[in-house]
Each structure stands twice: as C-alpha cells, then as structure tokens.
Subunit: 736 residues, 2 copies
C-alpha cells in the first residue's frame, strides 16, 4: 500500500475509530520522489488523491513501539527517573490545590523531610559525607519532582542544589565537614543569598559587602543601601536558619569581587533573626507559593574568617588575599559556573512539564467532540480538526527535540562534574549549552501549557486539570537562574568569540562569503559555533528540489547556514567596535542586540535539532535498537521540528535568497501534512512519555470525557432507534 | 534641526536625563525622501550619522500632549469612564491578594452590592424599570472595573450583562416587570446557564431539554446525560437563586431549537437547591476566583409556561409554537446576537489590562538600571536597551490600535442597541466586528501581561506587582464568550459569504486576479470585506521606494491586499465544495481551516490599523484638535503598528511577490528605528492612559525603584568623592 495518508485519515475518521496502535499505516521508506510529485500536484491541498508513487519495494509500517520508546526517552538515568516517579506518585508528595500560603509552605517543607528520609537528595554529595558522587542521576531525579509540585522541585533545589551545592563546590574540607551534614539532613534549612533587589542577572554588580577585619579575624557583612537587600530568596522568609551569601570581598581596602560566605541567619530554636539581620517576606507570588521567598539585609554582621567559602579565593589571618585563579573575571565566572546545575535542572523540569501538558491536551483532544461537520449526527473529535493538529502536534515535536537535547546536556553535565571530562573547554561548553537550552525549554513549556489550556477550553482553566497551576509555577523559570534573554546574550558572545578566534588574522571580506570549514563528518556539537558543511554560495544547488527539504542534510544546511550567516553578519557589524570609545562601542552593540540574541536562538534551535537527529538516525539512534516503524514516526516528528523552524524563520530564508518563493510555500504545506500524518500516532507519542494518571492527575485526561461522549451518543442513538427523538423544526442545512 | 534621532538619544543618554516632556525632538513633517536615503546608507545601523535631509521648511516638534491625549483616549463615554475610575480607585472595590476562595467570593459579592448602591449597574436597562437606556455608557463603565478586580468585572457581567440582559433582550414585558427589579437590585443573584460540560462554543448542540406539558401548562427541564450538565456558570456554585437557562424547546414532539427560560434554582432563604436540581462547585480556577463557578443538573424540573423568555419564540397554552422569525437558524443567531455585549466588554477590558501592564513595565523600565555598558560606573536604564524597546514599544503601539478599535466597536454597539442604527446588516456588522476584535485584544492582553512580567524579572512575579494576578484572571478571556479560534472562524465565514455574494455570477478565474472595486475614498469599514484601493497587479509600482512603506496608503495597500488575496484564495479552494458530499466538503474545509482563520486574523488586524489611522489622520483625527507634535508621535506609533504587522507576515509578502527582499529587510529596520524614536515618549504615552497609582497599584511602578537607584548611585558617588571606595583588584576590562 502506498496511499499512506489517505489510509490513515480513513482509519481516523471512522465513527468508531481504532486506537493508534491498531490503526497502523504503511509508508515508503524512501519518499523524496513521491513527496515531490505530491507537492507538484495542484490537487495536493484537496487531499482527495495522493500522487505518491512507490520508489522502492521496501515497505515499512509506521507505528510507535510505546514501551520501547518510553525506555529510550528515560535515557541514561532511567532507574533514577523511575524511582523518582514512584516517589512523585505518592499523594503525600503531591500538591494540593487551594492551600493557603502558610499551609502550602509547611506542606512543602514537610515533603523535603520525606525526601531526606527517602534518600533522594544526597546523590550529588561526596561519598565522604554520605553521598554518592552521582551528579547526572541527582539532577535526573530532582527534575522529576516537578510533576508532584514545582514548589517541591524548586524548594529542594534551593536547599541542596544551591545552598548545599555552593558549600560543596565553593567551600573546602572544613566547610564540607562542618556544614554539609546539617544541610543534607535539613537540620539547617538555608537560603542562597545572591540576588539583590537592585541586581538580578548582573551578579558582579551586587552591593553587599564583606569587609575583612584583621583585628578580630572576622568578615563584616553589610548592606549599604536599600537596593542591596537580598531578595527573592527561597527559605529566607520563614525556614532558613543560615545562608550562603554572596558579597563583594574587601580586604586591605581592595575589592576582590564577589565571593560566597556561610552566614547564620536565625536562632535555630526561636527562629528569630540574629542581631544585625532583618528581612521581609516577599509574600504571595504568581506561582511556587510552596516556597517562602523573602528579603534579607545586614547591618555590620560579623562572621568568622573561616566562613568564607575559600576554594577559589582566600584571606589569610593578616588580611592577605590569595586565589588559585589569577584573573578576577575568570575567577568570578568559575565560581558562578559551579551553579550551572540550576539551569540544567530547569531545562529538564520544563521538558517534563511540557510532557504533562501535552499528555493532558492530546488525550482530551482525542476524546472530546465538538461541532458536526461531515455528518448530521456525529460530532468531530477535536484532534481531527486541522487547526487543533497545528496547535498541538508541532509542540509535540518540539518537546521530543527538547527532551533529547536535555539528555545530551545532562550527560555533558555529568561528565564535567564527575571529572570524566572536566577541562576548561568542557566547562565552557557545558555553560554555553545550558545557557542555550534553558531559555528555549522554559519558554516552550510556558507556550505549551498555555496552548494546552486554551485547547481544552473552560475545562483547562479549572485547577483540577493542572494546566493553570503548572503554568503559574513555571512562569518564573523564564527569568530565574539567569534571565532567558541574558543567557542567550551569553551564548551569542561565545559564538562571536569562537568566530573571531578562528578568523583572527584573516581578511574579513573573504570570511563573510566563505562561511567555514567542512564539518559534514562531525557529530553533534555540544556548543560553540556549529560548522556548515559547505559554502553558503553552494547551497542553492544541493537542495534545489522541493522534496529534498525533508532530507536531514538539507534541514541541517538550512539551519546551520542561518546561524553561520547571522553570526558572520553580526561579527562584521561589530568589527568597528574595537576602534571606538567604550561608549560608542556599547551603542554599536546595542544597535545589534536583537540580531545578536536572534543568532543565539538560532544556534540553540540547531542544537535541539541535532540532538533529535542524533537520537533518530545518528550513531546513538542507530545503536538504540529502534524498530523501523518507530523510526518512521520519529523521523516525521524530527522533520516537523526541523521544517517548523524553517517555517518560523521563513522570511529570513526568503530575504537572504536561501529558498525560492515556491520552495518556501512548500515548507508550510509540509508541516501541515506532517502534522496530519503524525496525528494518529499522537496518543502513543504522549504515552511514551511514561507519565501515568498518578503523575498527570487531570480530571479531563482520565477517560472521563470519553465516557461522557459515549453516554451522549448512546442516548441519541437509542432515541433515534426508538423513534422518540423529537423532530427538528426544519431539517438543519448545515453546510450549504 | 534635522538630526532628529541623535538629538533624542543624546537627551536620553545623559546620566540625569530630562523627562520626555522636556526632551522634545524635532522632525521633518515630510520624511519619505529623507528616510529613503537614510535606509540606503550602509552606515544606517551604526546610527552615528543621520543622512536625513530637510525636504520642507516646516519643522514640527514631536511631543505628547498627555492631558489632551488622555481625554482623546477616553472617547465618547469619557464621563462614565472617569466616574468608574473614581469608583475603582476606592480600596473597598479592589482586589486583596491572597484571600481564600471563600473570602474572595464573599468580597466580590459584597462589591456587587456596592455597585448597586452606587447606581453603576443599571445604565443599560430600560427607563421603565429605573434604568437609563444607555448601552455604550453601560459597557464603558463596566469594563473599567477590570482594574479593580477582574472577578468584579466578570461577576457583575454575569449578573447584569448576561443574566439580566437575557431577561431584558430575550424576555418581554411580563419578564421585565416580574424579574428585572430583583436582578437589578441583586436580590436575585443569577446564573447564565448556557454552556454545558459537553458543549462550549457549539451552543446549538446543547443537550438540556425543556419539554412543554400541555396538561399542566409547564415546561419540564431535564438533563438527559452527564455531558449536558450546565458547567462553568458564574453564580451557580453558591450565590445564584435563579438562572436564565438555555435548553432545546420541545413541544408537540418537535424540537424548535435552543431557547431561554427563567428557572428558580435555590430557596432564597436557605440557599438549598429546589427539588430536582443539583450541582457541583467548579472549585479553584486559574484565576477569577472571586466568582463561584459551578455546575447544574435538572431532573424533570417543572417551571410555568410563562417562564419561557418569549420575545423570539413562544408556546401557546395548547402547545402551539410560534415565532416572529421563521428560519430556526436565523432565530437562533438573533437570540445569541443579543449577547454580543459580552464580547464587546471583554475587548474593552482587555485593552484596559494591557494599558495597566504597560504602565507598570514602562515605568519600571525607565527607572531600573542593569549592567554597565558604555560606562565604568553608570548602569544602563533598561528601556535604553534595544531589546527592551523591541519587547515593549510595539506592544504599546498595538495597545493604542486596540484602544481606538474598541472605541469604534463600542460606538457601533451603542448605535445598534440604542436603535439608532439597528438594521439586520448593522447587527451582523456588529457581531462580525466583535468576533474579529475580541480574539486579538484578549490574546494581546495576555501577551502584554506576560512580556511585562518577564521584562520586570523577579519583581514581576510578585503578586504585589499585579502582573501575574491580572494575567491569571484574563487567561480565560481567550476562550469564554466564544473561543477565539471559533470567533475568527465566524469572521472568516462572513468574509467568504461577502465575497461570494459579490461575485455570485462572475467567472472565478477573472476574480482571482482582479481583487475588488475601488474604495480609496471609503472610510473605515466596521466589518465585512475591506476593499482594495487598486488591482493587486498594480501594487508593485505604487510603493516601489523603500521610504513609501511609511506612507499610510502603502500600509493600507499591503494589509488590504493580504486580506483580499487570502480570502480569494480560500474561496477558490473551497469552490468545489458545492459539488461534493457533505463529508467531502467538510474534509475540504478542514484542509483549509488554518488558512481560513489566518485570513480572518489578517482582516481583524486591518480593522485595528484602520481604526488607528482614522484616529490619527482620518476625519475623526483631523477634527479632534490634536496638535502637530502629538500627531507626529501618534503617526510613528501607527506606523510601528502597521509595519509591525507587515513584519509579522513578512514571509507572506515575500512568497507572494508583494515585497522585494530588499524592501522586506527595510521593514525590520523601520520598526527598530520607530521603536527607538518612540522610546523617549513611551512614558508620556502610558501616562496618557490615565491610570493613576490607585489603579495601577504595583509596588515597582511607584517611583520606588527610581529612589533605590538614586540612593545606590549617591552612595557610590559619595564614596568615590571621599576616596573611600575600595579599589578593584584589577581595573575591570568590561568591553572586550
């Protein structure tokens, strides 16, 4: 059978349709020619005939092996994830809607103690203090908590991922022995006191000072003005009895920049602030109200010299400063670099939230009926409407891309933090990768939750269906642990510095045209500038035919070319900056800021696409044991993601002569067709996410809607059969 | 002075910058030539020189007359709006964050009684029952309530705009005399029982039945299955003692379609459900928790025959049905049409919410500093960053467009409901206009609130800064009173039927190329198909020069051409449907659903653009007494809106040969330049919205941030002056 799409549609449009599993469809393994003629046909949009010709005898049945794919998605730390999902399945770990601020805070604090009892939170700590030195596993387990309650994920992240991790990574043996046990056991709940009211993403400019007093061998912590109050700190409003505090280290009248200090905050017994310390409750927030965010200020508060977390910078008794890292700038970024795990885990948690959202919306969309279209009596299933497919299925593709990309990020993170691959370059690559992926996945989660909410109508607005609560909680993911735009700007700076390093001595005019060395044989690039496999000028000839758009190498070229060209253009535009005054250079940079950030976004999208491609037909994918049918479905999904990116940036491809108007029009048709093809597999593709009813917990995704629809249809069917249905006043003439 | 932009930037970049009022800039009244050469210059992006040449001796100072513009924005019902703002300024009318569900519901119910005491809610009712027959004024006042608490707006909308309005518009004298007094006084809080669990936007298919029993002269209200439970009804969970209920009217074994009935629900004293009636609380929602939404079901509940709201359909004692409207379809849409005011008021409330959001984000963006760029000591004001401008200023332009468009919608509404212009065509135009504008403004409000939230970082996430609460409340505006996509589909059907009516007998092949009669002299079109002022084929020659993009007629052509072409394409594609089976026709429609909805969206965007243009330099604008400086600023803003639409759909213009790649690139440069030019006026433009601190109520928009920034800068300045600022370890090399 070659008439793939029609077969599918027929199977889906029968009143009593089979499940996606039984509704398998057949497809040619090689389709380029066939799709070509399909797209050339003027009748293509009517869809009544399919001009596809078999170009090979090898026929593959498109299907989704849900169980296999589920395991594949679980990735390297599958066991940890499954254990974490067992835990998040327990009602006592889950959010209860409608709690008051205080009740929610207390509940989440109680859940943290359950995590400790359960041994869930110590994986990342050294074996010497009872941990497991398992960094990737730690994050994998941690990010799964988001399905129980994002407040639980973030509050435990504050305690162990920020407060504890700072003591671990910025402190030395004394700090580990002295402070980690209390942190790990939750005897000492703590805040991560970095952000100030006046300074968020610009940590280097914080105002709090820690001035060394040689006389008493103490640091004096001080808040010089209102803008330097620490702000938005989890655990600061109620529970925290200590903090890792970031302040400008001043000794011998020299400011050595931002360092971290261990600072007791409250009397553990009375919970009263210690002398010189004050604060405020940040109060109600848009979400994450299980966390007690608050503000802190310090009036000449003294702490022992030893409380400086001194791995990267130390002060001797006499006030002499020393550091293993000479450059203050590099030292600062090294210290901050240890905190990359926050971004890694937000990336993973956002992917998990998008998976929950799509599980809800696609399950409901597959059961809910609304409006009769092609029949007098049977209403249409929502997901059979083209628009509904267009709203949800590309988001499914992006979620798969983000999921595979996150697995790569987590692997990279584990390699660096385990020491398996821990050079400066590795660390920089990790930071760039995290800075690239976290913005995309956090925004994607918000967009997906919102689309799912709107696609489920009034039902989606009820708290019992979870979408609004998850969206409210994840809202802040877009700006914490680094504002998304600031992170993308970091990525762009890395791209520009990679670019200029490679061409430091070359003539620029030449470079702008010859964009970069051959790299067709290079596998996925974790970060940095992705190289183009051939000269831009040659591109037109290699993907002339419309059908080749679905070829992976054509997609790669289109996406890579865009990144390369944008980086080259920005680099050219900024080139005069070296000869300008600081002010004029800043103005020049500012004139190109949007362009710079757009280049970084393009790069991050390419990284997701590469990760998806690697998972499907790169070495990892080929070695995975994936069956051909599943590969067909995942390839459609990857194509939808890749061509969806091209469609999103279509104006760029047209303005820059990379696609002809005719080929550009084909892109939109393709993504529409691909969505329709994937539609019968959509339910299987969300089932493969592996979240059960105990994780999804949405009343509309339990099959209740299906039962209601069946009851209504049975009612009318019985009435019609019995002749008791009142006649309509006039036969309604619905479609002309 | 001709060097406009640089003057502005210099004024804005001084450390102690003047307010926008004093930082006036000068601009040529006629700029087309100048901008042309500016854009042709390769140095244009560096912005260091401005090649603009004066092409006229008439020099206008761009400025915003805030007081005048504020009055202009208030529109026809300025007095009502100002009175409503006095009311919403009162703390007892305002939302308190963090109330429990019950507390919030009780508070809002109490506020409704204050509205009654204040005489705010009866404007739309007839003079015969103590009202004022003032329909436009009623909506204007009502939509202002959103700034106090969206729950208050919507709960009062349920009581008087839906429940009361249904009795008024669907009932007759008996109902007015019997039921309106209790509704108006809030003695009878009531629900508007239309939506069912199984049917939202498809009201015609609801399952609840009202079967006439001649023996007792009663209607029997019945819920035949679970999907036919009434759902999401405000006032149903707790407060409602009656409802206007929509059900299939059955008499003499004929179903006459959906009609409305007045149904008592609860014992007014005990609040217990009356016999046969049951229900559930919808519980916590994503927002609007001051409203007690709930579900209702009916088991053979009997009501008197007279409780049928019988204006458009009646049942005699003997069970004979009669109606002044013969066609059941038209009757149904006439009954639903009386409810258009819900959509009108959501449109207006969404505009108000976007105004509040931008007032907060722009005020904060004008005070907040982050990162040093061009200086070692002074941090940049957020709104001086190009990206920040790009995030907020186009949204300011869209908000102005939506505000002017709403004023036109409200005027049309008032004309229809007052009877001043109340033909069938007028009613249809009103419904199409409301269906076009409500989706755009509700989505715009959500996007603006979200962008404002992210642009204000962690502060934006705190409830005290209002953005998250407003966003949560307005979320549902996108899908209630008609799902936005369903509404756009209604608009598209109107466009298609207008199109086919005009060309019913013409040969289609000709029509696809000649798109429509001359209409250059027609003013804004409230609805229906906007005509193109010349043949599409001619377009290329009329706007060949880049500079002409800013010409209003060029923008109109680009936007109109897109609507016309899309409608013609869809019409051509759907043409075979008349010869197909119902099923095949539905499939064909479905294949073009996205395209159809995109055409409607384009039409709605054009309507906003026309309204903006009319307000600036149409007859209304010219007669308004606007001074030239304000007109320059508003023209920039209108151009930013218009060219922003072209930029958003740039791929379409390129694929369809309407813009050359070079001209297309100019569009993006233009919107960037326009945002930068408007930037110094941004604060004035939000001040003109006229919302004071008592309406905005956001801690970050009070000037507190400005004071904090000043304190921090003073601190460092004093330390530097005194030589007490600790030296940096090394001179930081911030740029490069």
């Amino acid at each position: 059978m070659t008439d793939t799409v029609d077969t599918t549609n027929n199977a889906e449009e029968a009143p009593e349709r089979p499940t996606a599993e039984s509704g398998v469809i057949e497809v040619d393994a090689v389709e380029a020619d066939a799709i070509d003629s399909e797209l050339d046909s003027t009748a293509r949009r009517a869809g009544s005939t399919d001009a596809r010709r078999p170009s090979t005898n090898h026929v593959v049945v498109a299907r989704t092996d849900v169980e296999w794919l589920g395991r594949y998605l679980l990735g390297t730390w599958a066991d940890v994830r499954l254990a974490a999902r067992d835990l998040t399945a327990k009602p006592e770990m889950q959010r209860i809607e409608g709690l008051s601020l205080d009740e929610h805070r207390q509940r989440v604090f109680g859940q943290l103690t359950l995590l400790v009892q359960n041994g869930q939170v110590h994986r990342a700590f050294p074996k010497s203090v009872g941990g497991e030195d398992d960094h990737g596993g730690n994050i994998a387990g941690f990010e799964e908590l988001v399905t129980a309650d994002p407040s639980l994920q973030i509050k435990s992240g504050v305690q162990w991922g920020l407060f504890g991790a700072a003591v671990l990574h910025l402190g030395t043996q004394y700090h580990h022995e002295t402070f980690l046990p209390g942190i790990m056991s939750l005897d000492v709940p703590g805040a991560f006191a970095m952000t100030e009211t006046g300074h968020g993403s610009d940590v280097a400019a914080i105002g709090t000072t820690a001035t060394y007093d040689e006389q008493t061998q103490e640091f004096v912590i001080h808040t010089p003005f209102r803008g330097a109050w620490k702000d938005y700190l989890g655990n600061a409003a109620v529970h925290g009895t200590a903090a890792v505090l970031f302040a400008q280290l001043i000794t011998q009248n020299v400011n050595h920049g931002v360092h971290a200090f261990y600072v007791p905050l409250r009397d553990p017994a009375t919970k009263a602030f210690l002398p010189g310390i004050g604060g405020e409750d940040d109060g109600l927030k848009g979400g994450l109200n299980g966390i007690d965010n608050g503000r802190l200020h310090f009036d000449q508060v003294r702490i022992p010299r030893a409380n400086l977390l001194n791995r990267y910078g130390d002060v001797a008794e006499d006030g002499t400063y020393s550091s293993p890292i000479e450059s203050p700038g590099r030292r600062f970024f090294t210290m901050l670099g240890t905190l990359v795990q926050g971004r890694v885990s937000l990336d993973g948690a956002s992917v998990a939230a998008a998976k929950i959202a799509l599980t809800i919306a696609i399950t409901y969309g597959n059961e809910r009926r609304q409006f009769t279209a092609g029949s007098d009596t049977d209403e249409e299933v929502l997901l059979d409407y083209q628009l509904h497919q267009k709203r949800l299925i590309p988001k499914l593709a992006t979620t798969y891309a983000a999921s595979f990309a996150h697995e790569q990020l987590l692997t990279k993170f584990d390699q660096v933090f385990s020491g398996a691959a821990d050079t400066d370059d590795d660390r920089q690559d990790l930071e760039t990768l995290a800075a690239a992926l976290k913005p995309l996945s956090t925004w994607h989660a918000l967009e997906t939750l919102q689309e799912a909410r709107e696609a489920t109508g009034g039902a989606g607005f009820l708290a019992e269906n979870r979408l609004v609560g998850l969206r409210a909680d994840l809202d802040i993911y877009a700006t914490f642990e680094g504002d998304n735009h600031v992170l993308l700007q970091l990525v762009a700076k890395r791209l520009l510095s990679d670019y200029s390093r490679r061409f430091a001595k070359a003539d620029f005019g030449v470079l702008a045209r010859y964009v970069v060395e051959q790299a067709a044989d290079r596998a996925v690039h974790g970060s940095g500038l992705r190289s183009l496999s051939q000269r831009v000028a040659d591109f037109g000839s290699t993907a002339r035919s419309v059908g080749q758009l679905r070829d992976a190498s054509a997609q790669r070229q289109l996406l890579t070319d865009r990144v390369e060209t944008m980086v080259a253009e920005v680099a050219a535009a900024l080139r005069p900056a070296s000869k300008l005054s600081k002010k004029a250079a800043a103005d020049l940079f500012n004139l190109h800021q949007s362009q710079i950030i757009e280049a970084a976004r393009a790069h991050a999208e390419l990284l997701q696409w590469e990760a998806f491609t690697e998972a499907v037909d790169g070495p990892t994918g080929l070695a995975s044991g994936m069956d051909d049918g599943t590969r067909v479905v995942l390839t459609w999904l990857r194509d939808l993601f890749g061509l969806g990116l091209v469609e999103k940036h279509l104006a760029w491809y047209l303005m820059n002569g990379r696609l002809s108007p005719k080929r550009a029009q084909a892109v939109g048709l393709y993504t529409e067709r691909l969505s329709a093809r994937i539609r019968p597999h959509a339910q299987d593709l969300v089932r493969a996410f592996g979240y059960g009813p105990e994780h999804v917990r949405a009343a509309i995704a339990t099959g209740a809607e299906k039962a209601r629809q069946a009851e209504a249809r049975d009612y009318y069917r019985a009435q019609r059969a019995a002749g008791t249905l009142p006649a309509p006043e006039k036969k309604p003439g619905r479609t002309r």
